[in-house]
């Protein structure tokens, strides 16, 4: 088992005088095997992003545990251990513009990864950066030395994926990586994820609100609602025999291309 998530919860406390607890994630548990492609599907506010940030060791869980290869990332504090963790588990976010610090050239995103890798020679770094860009379908001379606002959303998201090609992590958590990408260029970006899985055995947690996307790309789908995982199964199980009423409603309400809704 690559990753075990057990009873993971996050409670936010808001308000100064009248404190109110918001249970963003409630006792989420799941496991991921090596090379598995799973999707976490839920609407906005379902807690899927919070879950991903807790696994990425960015947002501290209120309770529960994350165990990756036998270690709890939240118990790691030494910089060397943290480097190991983020080399193995890496994330990609929804908004390819917000992922870049607008003041720096896009090169920074890629060269940052050498902080996690043991590579000294500058020539080799440059070579690896260029290779990674080629692997995600970009021409290095077209993107290196440019600022984020000079590139399109698709190009920026490809650079974020190039970062993963440099690191070759064992687990990638991709939070809505294509929802802000033009429809006509989405398929190419999706393919990069399946290539990573096929070529390097990378596991992927794909976080999305789009059931169609999850159905298309994943081995297993987990449906999240109000902070809990309400159902999980293979894409066909979920679509053909949904058990939880929320999944049923979701399935009913997703617009389809080849079928028309009843009563419409």
């Amino acid at each position: 088992m690559l990753l075990k998530v057990k009873d993971l919860s996050k409670t936010f406390i808001v308000g100064l005088l009248r404190k109110k607890e918001i249970h963003a994630v409630r006792k989420v548990s799941f496991n991921i095997k090596k090379g598995e492609f799973i999707s976490l599907v839920g609407e906005s506010g379902s807690g899927k992003t919070t879950t991903s940030r807790m696994i990425l060791r960015i947002l501290k869980p209120s309770s529960g545990s994350v165990i990756f290869e036998g270690k709890d990332p939240w118990a790691l504090h030494k910089i060397e251990d943290l480097k190991w963790y983020w080399k193995q588990v890496h994330g990609i976010f929804q908004d390819p513009f917000a992922s870049f610090n607008p003041l720096y050239k896009v090169d920074r995103i890629l060269y940052q990864t050498f902080n996690l890798l043991n590579i000294e020679s500058d020539a080799e770094k440059e070579h690896l950066v260029k290779e990674s860009l080629k692997e995600v379908g970009l021409r290095p001379e077209e993107v290196l030395g440019r600022y984020p606002h000079e590139l399109s959303g698709g190009q920026r998201q490809r650079i974020m994926i190039a970062r993963c090609y440099l690191l070759k992590p064992k687990l990638i958590i991709a939070d809505e990586p294509i929802s802000m990408i033009d429809a006509s260029t989405r398929a190419g970006i999706l393919k990069l994820f399946s290539d990573l899985r096929n070529n390097y055995g990378t596991s992927v947690i794909f976080i999305t609100h789009d059931l169609g996307l999850a159905y298309y790309v994943s081995d297993r789908i987990m449906i999240m609602h109000n902070g809990s995982i309400v159902e999980e199964g293979t894409p066909d199980e979920i679509m053909e025999h949904p058990k939880h009423h929320y999944t049923m409603r979701l399935k009913e309400d997703v617009p389809l291309l080849y079928r028309k809704w009843k009563g419409f």
């Binding site: 190009q155 006509s184 989405r186 609100h209 059931l211 979701l250 291309l257 079928r259």
Partner: protein, 324 residues
Amino acid sequence: MSTLLLEAERVKSYYHTREGTVKAVDDVSLDVENGIILGLAGESGCGKSTLMNTLMMKIRPPLYLVDGEIIVDGERISKMERKEIKKKIWGVKISLVPQSALNALMPTKRIIDFIRDVVKFHVDVSDGEIVSMARKRFEELNLPEDSLYLYPHELSGGMKQRAVIAISTLLNPKLLIVDEPTSALDVSTQKRVLKLLLDLKKFKIIDSIVFVTHDIAVLRQIADRLVIMYAGKIVESGTLEDVLSNPKHPYTAGLIHAVITPEPEIRKRGLVSIPGEPPNLINPPSGCRFHPRCLHAMPICKKVVPELVDISNGRKVSCHLVKA
């Protein structure tokens, strides 16, 4: 032959910016017949929202109507004074629910007060009449009447969107334009909003709808006709069935192939993406604007702008591959 509610003839509307002229709508002709739901699909930045604003004559610098005519229900609004359009056209003959409609309501006013202001601008009626009119309409559309007395922040996103649509159609305009009304909503709320639009038409509150979105699967559920826009131009239009089952323009085909829905057919056919990226509209490609990304591009595509030609019964395509 059905009558035309809206005719746009060779419309050009450009943004004049510091960086240059953005040809957001370039030589677009579009008709909307009485009694249909017209779906307009295109990617972000293709000019679809600008086209809608232009059809409404909601034109403010840096956007300028450079050329073309717009006729709404027999009135040539492209020549009208803005004041007159505001009073006689908007909300009365044609209404637009813009993309940012969720913020359109006044945060300091209850829904009913907002409605009162809007209605009073157009017609001279008493407060009591307005209230009973609004209540009746909300009841008819199956919207909770209590929400009339709430402030916008007390409504959920979906309810707010439905309220905005109900308010926009309170004066029974003939045509309603909705711009990406559901893209910020989750699927169940989206379905409710779509149902509301169908109800408006069923109850003859409005005659026709123009639905603008990037989501073809949504249009599949409600539209009668489909118009595909790319880089400021219409590339193809026709009945929904025709366009979806037999796309003539390579871009239309590509767009349909990029749709992802949870259906076995999608898995079988796979996803195909169009190479390259949508062009910058300050400096669009010569000839056919799609040619740099087109797998079937020929030498002529680079030089000559293809006309949007009628190939049969209102099916129009703008591509050198297709002959009339």
